[in-house]
Amino acid sequence: MKLLNLTNRYYIVIALFLLLISVSFLTYRVIYLMDKEISDHMRYEKMQIEKQIALQPGIQDQPFVIGDRIQIDPIPKFTTFKVILRDTTVLLSEEGKILKVPYRILSYEQLISNKSYRITLWRRLTENRDLGRGLVSTIILVAVDIIACFYFLNRWFSSKVWRPFYRAINVLKKFDLQKGGRVLFQRSNVEEFNTLNAELTKLTDKVTRDYRNLREFTENMSHETQTPLAIIRSKLELLLQSENLKEEQIGHIRSTLDSVNRLSKMNKSLILLTRIENEQYATEDLVPLGQLLRNQLESLDVFIESKELHVQTHIDDDISVRMNQHLADILLTNLLSNAIKYSTRGGELNIMLTTQRLVISNSGPPMTIPGEQIFERFKKGDSPDSVGLGLAIVKKIGGHCNLQLHYEYTNGMHCFFVEFRPERVVVRTV
């Protein structure tokens, strides 16, 4: 949910709740006041009648009208001083229709010239009801209008207030740790946003710096290790030249040499990885991948033959891809030697190069690690000899040269797909 929607949602809920309460209260008050007003008025009329009767004795026998209707009926005996005030419904025939009309009655007994009378005042309530209803609906209408107005105002206002926030989000989205660089936020008038931006700048600066340090560390570490490794290897080789070595001693030298080799290979791969990350292979050429593939296959020929692999190639020789020449070389070497290394003896090796993609597939048993991890560093299946960086390098090159890489295992074939971006492919036309 978006921040704006969230605030608006709360706003609407609260506004409707308040509206409900205030409208009910208002309605109640209006009805109550009008009711009171009518009753008061009727009591006033009662006083008027009493005054009239006192001023003009005998008036009780003549019809006179105050309010809607006044009824003065003689009664046999005076019974109470109580004044009855109640509502009732009267059936009236108006315009040929029979209507139920609400009336209020004020009725009391009075002694006039020693005779008892019941005086009843009638008051039609229809107009008041209509007025009340009109009032309430007007109030509701106005309130709804105000809420709607505020809703849109709030929306507009919030989006204006939060604009620096959304801008900051966009800036952060574009931030790429690999490429580094500083994030630049626009200044806003809101102090909190400026604080946020300042903190974000500090944070990204620190992350960038740490990342660079880590990269430098890896690179330096790998470089600095090469010399001691060279020394160890040279000493072992010298040792190996000595006369009268026992078989056991040779065995020790051998396994030490093996470990040195592994370390050295790992180092070289790590150096290559950091170099790619450090943009040291930024130059781009048009690389004729078909030609490169054929060259590589030729130099790997002995290995392919020894594994009795059936090689099938569909190579479109007119295709060139815009990328770094050296990286293209490494990419193909790693993919091809990987395919040869892990294919079954007498298996298949298929290479397909089209304008869209390069697919290198080899037959082999399924891997022991999940397919999506195959490109991760130091992930290797059952091969203790491998360093586990070959495909990590492939992945890194892919990222660097805008190639989409993915892996699939179908019908007993390990398939590596290298997808080209159309704008990077040049097809030679004859």
Binding site: Q226, S234, L238, G251, Q280, V302, F303, H326, T333, S386
Partner: protein
């Protein structure tokens, strides 16, 4: 053959001196750029093995200095940085070869010998070992003057062995010499074995002696003793 080794890592320098001396080279050493510059001023060398990362400057300066005078010295750069730029710059300004740390000693010997062979045009370029004779650029060998054709890999292997006679050569170093980046391919050791077998057969079938000795578990040795 007189070689100047310029390397600031004393232990590595020591190993190089020992190994190359055993290979019959005369070695002089320098651990920094200034003493190296002094030495090239005073003496002539057949080859200089140069580490470019020196404490008092870049080794490439020495190459530039060498280019100022007429010389026949071969230069092999040694670097801890396997960087394409370094390699290209080095080779462009006049180095003959480039090798990255950590390297195999026999590989260094082979490189030095090959560079020196290329540099000395007047000298005989062929390599002889008892009844064997090999030319660097032709895929043939002569056993008692009988010409026998070799495959490319057999030729490379023989050249490598002949550059390091009487030395134990590990399978890894041979694999790297023959296949470079592909050396860690599966089966590469089997190939060495089959190449060695074929080579041995070609030599002995044509009346040569069996110089190819296998050193159990480690590799091979080309030795007439």
């Amino acid at each position: 053959m007189k070689v100047l080794l310029v390397e600031d890592e004393k232990e590595l320098l020591q190993s190089m001196v020992t190994f190359l001396k055993e290979s019959g080279m005369v070695c002089e050493q320098a651990t920094d750029l200034s003493s190296a510059l002094e030495k090239i001023d005073l003496y002539d060398y057949d080859c200089i093995v140069l580490d470019i990362g020196l404490p008092d400057g870049n080794g490439l300066t020495l190459i530039e200095e060498m280019q100022k005078k007429e010389h026949k010295t071969g230069i092999v750069i040694v670097s801890a940085r396997n960087s394409l730029d370094d390699r290209l710059t080095g080779l462009n300004i006049g180095a003959d070869d480039y090798i990255t740390k950590p390297f195999y000693m026999p590989e260094l010997t082979a490189r030095i010998k090959s560079v020196v062979r290329r540099r000395t045009f007047e000298g005989k370029r062929e390599i002889t070992y008892h009844e064997l004779r090999v030319l660097p650029d032709e895929m043939v060998m002569y056993v008692n003057d009988k010409m026998i054709s070799l495959t490319k890999k057999e030729h490379e292997l023989l050249m490598y062995l002949l550059s390091n006679p009487n030395k134990v050569l590990t399978k890894e170093s041979i694999a790297e010499h023959l296949w470079g980046d592909h050396a860690d391919m599966a089966d590469s050791f089997d190939f060495i074995y089959s190449h060695i077998k074929n080579l041995r057969k070609k030599i002995t079938d044509n009346g040569g002696k069996d110089y190819l000795k296998s050193v159990y578990g480690v590799g091979y040795k080309f030795s007439g003793e």
